[in-house]
């Protein structure tokens, strides 16, 4: 393999490793907000790593550029979906973990009528 294929191979390896860690976090963390926190960060970074590795492997061809254009789309859409799910879960009534320290959102939301 050429040198750029080796570098791309290693970057894709990092991405897959962070994907695996994110899914491990999805299984291990105690409540839904922590799970979203860990899984969204790691899986977004891991997917970006895979796409960037593909770009390094293929260089400036049509295939590589498409992988590069996909990175900002992942970075923009994935956190927005996570915000929507977290807000929906809080309004749905999922409680925080019992060892949580503070919840300002619940205090502020009680004052106003339910959306």
């Amino acid at each position: 393999m050429a040198w750029n294929e080796w570098i791309g191979f290693i970057i894709i390896g990092f991405g897959v490793a962070f994907d695996a860690l994110g899914c491990l976090g999805l299984l291990r963390f105690p409540d839904i907000y922590n799970r979203l926190q860990g899984a969204t960060k790691c899986v977004t970074f891991g997917t970006c790593g895979i796409l960037f590795g593909i770009f390094v492997m293929n260089g400036f061809t049509g295939f590589g550029i498409k992988a590069l254009v996909a990175i900002p789309f992942v970075l923009l859409t994935s956190p927005v979906g996570a915000h929507a799910l977290a807000r929906g879960a809080h309004i749905f009534g999922v409680p925080l973990w019992e060892k949580s320290v503070v919840d300002h959102y619940k205090q502020d939301r009680k004052d106003k009528p339910r959306l």
Binding site: F9, I12, G13, G15, V16, D19, A20, G22, C23, L24, L26, L27, I32, R35, L36, A39, T40, V43, T44, G46, T47, I50, L51, I54, M57, G62, F63, K66, A67, V69, A70, F73, V74, T77, S78, V80, G81, A82, A84, L85, R87, G88, A89, I91, F92, V94, L115
Partner: protein, 84 residues
């Protein structure tokens, strides 16, 4: 390359386990959302392994489809119905 794909399939199974044990409805939805982002990476990797370049277009479209699906699920959580 094949070993990477096997690891990603194992990650999808972890998401499925979370969707199965769940405990609450939003927990299952989170698992589905994460699986959507994982599927983008899997499709892109499949394009490299099988050398079929059109699969990266599928990945690009999948980003937006999973985004819209997640927003619809979140809307269900807030309003408890899919109308509107």
């Amino acid at each position: 390359m094949n070993i990477y794909f096997i690891i990603l399939v194992a990650c999808c199974f972890a998401c499925l386990i979370r969707a199965w044990i769940g405990k609450s409805i939003p927990d299952r939805m989170v698992a589905i959302d994460i699986m959507g982002t994982l599927a983008v990476g899997m499709t892109a990797l499949l394009a490299v392994i099988t050398e079929r370049n059109f699969l990266i277009d599928v990945a690009l479209a999948w980003i937006f489809l999973s985004f819209i699906g997640t927003l619809a699920l979140a809307k269900y959580l807030v309003h408890k119905t899919l109308d509107e």
